[in-house]
Symmetry: D2
Subunit: 195 residues, 4 copies
């Protein structure tokens, strides 16, 4: 069996889960969403597949701009590569928007589902790391390890200079990450309706 095809196919299934969930459109941030899946022996971003053009919102629904492709993600791919140094079973991840209301929902959701949650305070990031595309990601993941003792299943990054605050969900495979994301999105939509 071809692991590359397997990975692209799991991403297709994950995109279908996201595209069918109208509420997930509420979680699409300015930088849009990507969902990634790494080869079991991934070493570089070329070994990680993501959605070409990311996932945006069209006609009110989440919509993948292109097909899954190896090398299509930079930021999320580097996050997964870095996380795997501490949790080698993690091969997939997805990002979505961060806000205070969502944080409350996710903390409660994670408690019910027995998932770990953490946050990166980017105001603590030293300037040397902050200004470097290469060094920033290792700092962030190390920060999680140091603060929590492990890399949480769900974590957020607060806003940084030039950086939108974001949530990230990581998992062994992308359908899990997509399913968690749409459950959170539906809960978020319910909360907004009840305001």
């Amino acid at each position: 069996m071809d692991e590359h095809a397997q990975i692209l196919g799991e991403l297709v299934k994950s995109v279908q889960i996201l595209e069918e969930c109208k509420e997930f459109a509420l979680l699409v941030p300015e930088v849009r969403v990507n969902i990634v899946y790494a080869l079991s022996n991934a070493e570089s971003t070329g070994d990680v597949a993501g959605i070409d053009g990311r996932i945006t919102v069209v006609n009110g629904y989440p919509k993948a701009a292109g097909l899954p492709k190896f090398g299509a993600s930079d930021h999320m791919a580097r996050a997964i590569l870095e996380i795997r140094k501490y949790r080698p079973e993690i091969r997939a991840g997805i990002n979505f928007k961060y806000d205070e209301r969502l944080k409350k929902i996710i903390v409660e959701y994670a408690r019910l589902k027995n998932l770990s949650v953490g946050g990166i305070d980017r105001s603590k990031e030293p300037e040397k790391e902050r200004l470097s595309l290469i060094k920033s990601m290792p700092w962030k993941i190390r920060y999680l390890k140091e603060v929590y003792g492990f890399i949480p299943d769900i974590f957020y990054e607060t806003a940084g200079w030039g950086k939108e605050p974001l949530f990230v969900v990581v998992s062994a495979e992308p359908i899990k990450a997509a399913s968690i994301s749409v459950e959170i999105a539906r809960e978020y939509a319910r909360t907004l309706l009840n305001l």
Copy 2:
């Protein structure tokens, strides 16, 4: 490993081969192109994946309208299911336009590549089969078997009543079918340039 994901992923790779070949736009027929891939134990069209919305031409390039999806094809899926009764190793197929010039190119191409070619003369189709969505496909494939003694790797259907003439390429997996199609498309483009 998940065979469904494997199949969706191989179709993603096949679409990438087709989308990168501008010349393949010349082969897109009125009914558009689909490329399908069946589960190894496929019994119904729901067990065959195809491209949701088919492959059309946008900005001069072939473009998949949607993602690969099980049940997304009817015509090509039924063709593969029927062909598998005679050639069980066949699990993938693609259709594209038919014309006389293309037929000449394909006959020559198939000779060089050691592929078999055949044609279905739809004027021979009995009315009972012709008027039935269900019976027409078995008749067509049986026709090939009877005329050629086997199901050819590449075959065309001449125009029928309400039916555009089309070529079909079948193979064990879709990357092969896509690769054959883009080679034919490039040869067709060269021929058109030399007219």
Copy 3:
């Protein structure tokens, strides 16, 4: 004001009407749908705008494959150019699938809305016209004129050799044609549900 932009913009609005109507997916034929709009002094297909890649079905909804573009349609553009010889006020048209049940619904719909309906019997088409891409359209439109005395607002073509049967709606501008089409699609969906 720029008439080209006006036309592209009216087509955008028409596509939005079609894409929001899930029932219209039921009317998408094998050859897909195009909707076209001609410059007021259109003389060739380059003076008629249509949807690049046509309108297909993705995730169960009608979906334009590309943007409106001048020269993007051949068949529907030639139909409108030919119709304008008899009804110069007609500048827009859309095609969709034909079947017997739909024909009944449309005849009734047209009666209520005071629209004219007609049909082209392609079995009457002389071989000389049938085999010619250029001569077939003039014959079809002349046929309507001769049989009905005018070009109907809605007409169908029965199946021909290599030709899918289709309905065509024509109008002065495309929003009208799109609106008629979605009304018919909703009625058709109701009928299918009641079977």
Copy 4:
């Protein structure tokens, strides 16, 4: 004539200019690109059309995720509404990425083309404005007015807390803004090749 259609159509033409320019993919920022066009009497973001889902990069080319639509933009729409208080002739704008190399190219380009250039130093933004979605834009445009005495044709915002640095080009209509952007993109690509 319908001004809404006119605006949607001009945006279609602008998207075609951007999509045909492969080099423009180099200017697509994390937050993606939007191009907007306001009604002549626009008062709210619903009176400004933008690209639904923004413009992203697929297969290496810029690609509009959806069709032009009124209300599809928030950030760029509010920028144009605010700028019109000082320069009422401005009705269109586009954003793209900012970096130091691009800034040099744009300053030189603007000099040759007799366009004005300016920049917003977001580190000067008072906290009250910075934390408010509503107040930040008026502050930014007022800043330009105060520093330059007018609103420049091209301006950048440096990175802010949670905000990616960006360039914005404004003009009376969007084809001008799109054309300027692709000229800059081609110059930027040439510079990268010569490094």
